[in-house]
Symmetry: C2
Subunit: 336 residues, 2 copies
């Protein structure tokens, strides 16, 4: 036993669910949307959000200590980050992902030990095994899921818009586009591009609404289809973000083969998500995302860039390159 | 929108429950106890712990990325911290606290939003309101709770042993002692002291076992009583750690008054826990602990050192001083 060895880091990780759930409840209650109108004191906020006298002050001060709120002279206000990303009224809102975490994942992850022992998903599709059928069958749940996907995609979309050589290409399609955050972000950054989002037909009204909200309906269209039962649409560049990790290895290979078939010679496939570092010892978020696929899907898993490059080569891609995007996200580009 | 504003910190906190639950499941499965015998490869560990083929590698590598495990040439091993604190076979084991978090608190915290709106606890005592009656009525649950309290007390106990002027005193009693981690740690550090742990009679066999395991039965005794219905025992120094925050303000004042009554003139009361900084903007753990009291108790809450000093003065204490211990823990000392 030495003084240098303390349990502080163990407790910090082990009790991380306290901070996490506090932020998730704040998003659920609309706290940041409320404060985007202007700073407010404890009494006003408690009344507006329906917080009990016993709970409000600790809740808000905990969010100050977590650096999710500011507090000056008794008035609580958003930080620049929470104002930008957690105000539902702003197009930059990414809280859909946290709403989904709060409404679905927090509880499903409570059964992690069972998932580790059985290898079976632990969400609302625990019996049926088909999480996407469950999600797409319920319009409210679908809307929440698609908004969540915008939250997870925004940062990577901005980085792809900046880092990929778009000047060499004219058209692109985002495969499994959800609300269309990726095509909106890329098309807005590059006026010469025409883009589309491809997803199941149930997604169209939600996509169209999102694209119109961003005023991008002239250059971003919706294409309807099922990427397992239909051929993929063609374009100079195809994008698959947070798609491959949902599926087992055989399905991953099928999707890469179909992308290869749909591309023209010289065309590019961009695969991106929280790709695990090749040594599998740095990208904690990517490794935990793979456990999230265990919780959420019957066979999905995340993978390293090396894994992806080898599958792309097997599918026929002539060249590949790997480029870090932002935070835990990396893209692997395959050229036909 | 500026490039400097990213949602990375928001997602890091919001998805903190992934890392948290992964560590909690590892403790539940006995991973660190298994690895304390020596490093092991994926196949051996998966077989030993009953991990499914789909899950084991991501689970273990995620723990490597979270710095809770090492991995060298395909062999997983404990870090110095996890070997010392999360091996059930060692007296330094603090995983009881994480076992309790995993078995009880993770799920109770899922109802945080309801607690924030109603002010009512959300654990197994949601109906009865008396969490301690529920805990003490079930021997297994009581044993788990008392072990958890040892986990939360060890670091602070070492700091109190080092920082309080024990040479000026001969006897002490730890009020609400649980297994007796605090009296063991203090008595071991100071050979001239005789100590006792005070708790409800149900605790005695568990306390006696723990004290014997540490070989401290000569200088650390058990005193049985109920700190609300009985007078407190007398000693040169009384200690209350993680006690006051369980109770409402009126009950807190009662306990301080009873401690004052039990002390000799010149005697000291040491109150310690994750006391909130006076500005209520730094000690996130203390503020979240107060929300944990919302989840766990009908009226408990954490408080600042200033709050505690003012209650001690009202109870009659002549002098007070505030001293940081370790991590989120601080002690407030009152002298009669």
């Amino acid at each position: 036993m030495t003084d240098a060895v303390t349990p502080a880091d163990i407790f910090k990780v082990g009790f991380g669910f306290w901070a996490s759930k506090t932020l998730l409840s704040a998003v659920e209650l609309g706290l940041f949307t409320e404060l985007a109108r202007g700073p407010a004191d404890l009494v006003t906020l408690s009344r507006g959000l329906g917080l009990h006298d016993r709970a409000g002050r600790d809740f808000l001060d905990a969010l100050v200590a977590l650096k999710m709120l500011d507090r000056e002279e008794g008035l609580y206000g958003n930080t620049p980050e929470t104002d930008h990303f957690l105000d539902r009224a702003k197009p930059s809102y990414v809280g859909g992902l946290l709403e989904m975490a709060n409404a679905r994942l927090y509880q499903s992850w409570g059964a992690l030990t069972e998932a580790l022992k059985t290898g079976r998903n632990q969400n609302e599709a625990k019996e049926s095994g088909d999480v996407f059928a469950e999600l797409y069958a319920d319009p409210d749940r679908l809307r929440g899921f698609l908004a969540a996907m915008s939250g997870v995609s925004l940062g990577a979309a901005q980085a792809i818009a900046a880092k990929f050589p778009w000047k060499d290409h004219k058209t692109f399609v985002d495969i499994g586009t959800a609300q269309g955050m990726v095509p909106v972000t890329i098309a807005r950054a590059h006026n010469h591009l025409s883009g589309a989002g491809y997803d199941l037909p149930e997604v169209k009204p939600i996509f169209d609404e999102f694209i119109a909200w961003h005023g991008m309906q002239e250059r971003v269209k919706f294409l309807s289809g099922n990427f397992f039962t239909d051929p993929l649409p063609t374009a100079d560049v195809l994008i698959m973000g947070h798609i491959l990790h949902d599926w087992d290895l055989s399905q991953k290979r099928t999707l890469l083969e179909k992308a290869y078939a749909a591309l023209p010679k010289g065309g590019a496939l961009i695969v991106y998500e929280s790709i695990i570092d090749d040594a599998r010892r740095e990208n904690a978020f990517g490794l935990l995302m793979s456990l999230n696929m265990l919780i959420e899907t019957p066979g999905g898993f995340d993978y390293t860039a090396s894994d992806c490059v080898s599958w792309m080569k097997e599918a026929g891609f002539a060249e590949t390159r790997v480029q870090h995007l932002v935070g835990p996200d990396t893209m692997v580009v395959g050229i036909k």
